[in-house]
């Protein structure tokens, strides 16, 4: 666990955000009549609720949330080109969205200047929303004396068959982990990391889950001793008092932002832009760190409650272009390794 500091949003800032939002709306309204906004979002209700209701009270726009898995929603957006039924796509890690960025509208939020440099929307449509490191989640009831500090420790034979890991072709969080371990265990050269993957696959003992949530849920329920997941997934259990803790791999942690995007040709374009501005605004970002166990992309918002301070994490970075390029190859390679390990 980690300690936290909480900061209240100060009044003037809040006002500024609100003003900015309404201003933007006035300038760029394509259809001033619309009062609606349709958001495609894979986040759970409890995550969506506070932010959306805040947005609704602030703007008077009525929001309709279409919730489903990231993959499903993405496929929807893809299929609905020409007649988009959604306006905002809220969620989805950057590595997932980058190859699909053509589906989204270019838009620079009014808050871009407050965003960390390495999380700025340089592509055009990809506004960053929060920052999510990969973590190892450990069930403290089951772990016993086994020491878990990083990837290397997962090769402990005592953990054989007790590791929750997802098929990286099915879950973005485990795909992020794959990249993370390739870079971390390959000491910066992903090709060097495959040796570790092979060993890990052996220790998985043929068990490979099929959805991101199965990992954190499984570890929290005591089905698995450790799991490879993303920070928020585990953190909410920590916050809820489950017998779990998060471990930031000592070999290195890649932290990837997820984002919020405007769907191309959105019918409620003005409201969509308002929404982007809202969720990247200080109010919203503060709610995020206070209640939703995520890290803000804003420089002016502190580290969240109960999460490890960013300084204590051994952050490493991947080569985004390479990752996009190699995606299919790596996924295939993982499949082969996993199947032959069985």
């Amino acid at each position: 666990g980690s300690t936290s500091t909480s900061t209240a949003t100060s009044e003037p800032e809040k006002k500024a955000t609100t003003e900015a939002t309404s201003e933007a709306a006035q300038q760029e309204t394509t259809d001033p009549e619309t009062k609606d906004l349709v958001i495609y979002c894979p986040h759970p209700l409890e995550f969506i609720e506070p932010l959306v209701s805040e947005f609704e009270t602030q703007t008077g726009v009525s929001v309709e949330v279409v919730a489903a898995g990231t993959g499903e929603l993405l496929k929807r957006v893809e299929s609905e080109q020409g007649n988009p039924l959604g306006d905002i796509f809220w969620g989805g890690s950057l590595s997932t969205m980058k190859p699909q960025q053509d589906l989204f509208e270019n838009y620079q939020s009014i808050n871009e200047e407050y965003v960390y440099d390495n999380m700025k929307n340089v592509e055009g449509p990809l506004t960053r929303f929060t920052n999510i490191p990969s973590v190892i989640m450990v069930n403290t009831d089951l772990i016993g004396d086994i020491k878990i500090e990083g990837y290397e420790d997962l090769l402990n034979p005592e953990l054989k068959g007790k590791i929750a890991h997802c098929d990286p072709s099915k879950s973005s969080s485990s795909y992020e982990h794959l990249i993370n371990m390739l870079y971390a265990m390959g000491n910066g050269d992903p090709e060097q990391g495959w040796g570790y993957v092979e060993k890990l696959c052996e220790n998985l003992d043929g068990k490979l889950l099929s959805g991101s949530s199965a990992v954190y849920k499984g570890v929290a329920d005591g089905e698995y001793t450790v799991g490879l997941t993303f920070e928020e997934g585990g953190a909410k259990y920590v916050a809820d008092g489950a017998p779990v803790k998060l471990v930031y791999m000592k070999e290195g942690v890649i932290s990837k932002p997820d984002g919020v995007y405007i769907i191309k040709d959105a019918k409620n374009m003005a409201n969509a832009k308002k929404f982007i501005d809202f969720v990247t605004g200080k109010d919203a970002q503060t709610i995020i760190i206070e209640k939703l166990n995520r890290r803000s992309v804003r420089t002016d918002v502190p580290a969240p409650n109960g999460l490890e301070k960013i300084e204590n994490i051994n952050l490493i970075y991947d080569d985004e272009e390479l990752v996009v390029e190699k995606k299919q190859e790596w996924l295939d390679k993982f499949k082969d390794i996993f199947t032959s390990a069985q």
Binding site: V38, P42, H43, P44, L45, E46, E64, V66, A67, A68, G69, T70, G71, E72, L74, K75, R76, S79, E80, G82, N83, L85, S93, T96, P99, Q100, L142, D167, P168, S169, K170, S171, S172, Y175, G206, K207, L208, L209, S210, G211, S212, S213, A214, K217, A220, D221, G222, E223, Y224, K236, Y237, D240, G241, K327, L331, K335, F338, T339, S340, Q342
Partner: protein
Amino acid sequence: MNKAKIKWDFWSTMTLVIMAIFALFLIYPLFSLFISGFQDAETGAFTLSNFARFFEKKYYYQSMINSFKVTVSVTFLAILIGAPIAYFMTCYKIKFKGLIEVLVIISMLSPPFIGAYSWILLGGRSGVITKFFLNTFGIELPSVYGFGGILLVFTLKLYPFIYLYVSGALKKIDVSLSEAAESLGCNSVKKVITIIIPLILPTVLAGALLVFMNALADFGTPMLIGEGFSVMPVIIYSEFISEVGGQANFAAAMASIMVLITALLFMAQKYVVNKKSFTMSSLRPIQPKEAKGIKGFLMHAFIYFAVFLSIIPQLTVIYTSFLKTKGSMFTSGFSLDSYRSVLKNAGKAIANSYIYGIIAIIIIILLGMFIAYLSTRRKNVFTSIIDTVTMFPYIVPGSVLGITLLLAFNKKPLLLSGTVIIMIVAFVIRRLPYTLRSSAAILYQISPSMEEASISLGYSPVRTFFKVTAIMMLPGVLSGALLSWITVINELSSSIILYTGNTRTMSVAIYTEVIRASYGTAAALSTILTVTTVISLLIFFKLSGSKDVNI
């Protein structure tokens, strides 16, 4: 036979209309999907590489082998459990028969994911039952994950199909056939094997086909508890729709392989059914006898045990819906919080579920009976094609189907995306096979002389259909329609793609909770769904005046 002439009548018109509907809503979307299986992802050029890739990589073809392992075993197990229960319940006076029937139906009600998750809660590595056995007896139960678990969950979920189908068929057997066997000195077991089973074989096969295909197509369960035991639908699903972004063309190729297999199986089934079906006019249906002695005891024990096992997940769901939760954690103590937090949104979803469901089920029943009639009584190339094509959507994973529909109906003049219509279309084409298969099976048993009698009295074939054939088909139709209804209400995988905020249904609402592990609220929604469905069924059966649940 007057071969050359196809008489122009109501049924030929019906054939055309149905063909048109299917061409639009089924063949057009599905075939564009299949075609994409032959296209290169980047260039769109024709290629077989997608198929080659499937058969080259063990990761993929192993999943097909796994799929068959599962489906074949599940089909057998489901028959082994479902058919005897149906037989006992029809031929013997089983205590609490009505309750059992309700429970069987409830056990089918559990929406995808929820059921399997309940099994994890119970039989997972730190599940309630596992722990109980470990702590009290020191016995380590095999975990619910992997092949065994999938088998368990599927079997318990799917044997009711067989049960419903077989019960319907048994009601159409004239008791004198069974008596004739007895009079020749045949004991009950022999009688069942030599007389009853052959007579209901078409129905058993129809049910088995559905179970087989259902097990082959379902990805929710193996996704949750497969643990590396990967099966086809999960792979198709994830290639098509993974968070990571899959490969649609490859997925389409795999879907085509599945559909091909289905089509072959279905044709084999039809062939056998055509050969092995016998009409009987059942004036005296089987009357239940007293179940006495050790035999009676064993029968009761078997039924109660099977039904209890299958109802466990529902019980767990209902139980957990009352647990106190903290975030996604269950804590000790009970509360109604889960209900409170879902209730304000649930009203609309419930209303949607039932309104769409009712519209869909009406269409399903009509289409099902028409197509069944056409394909059994008016056999020709067209009706066979229709009959076969209707089975395709059953095997294509729902979300894939949803997307194909979305792609197909997203442009003018066929702009249906985001509407209620597209949801209902999806419901109908996905859930039609239940009603269709059971209707067709029952038709094989109805003697055409009933229709002839009606025609001889001056009723045209059409009116005869509605006044005699349709009514005599009802037991079969209803057992299928019951399945259709339940599955429509629980339909998820295509609606998740097709719904919008206005057309959100209950199962979508549940799934929304499930995907990010909010099981307390999911359980609450699920319980609401179960309760309302049971109430809806009870009302229906009360109104339709039938004594027992599946008529």
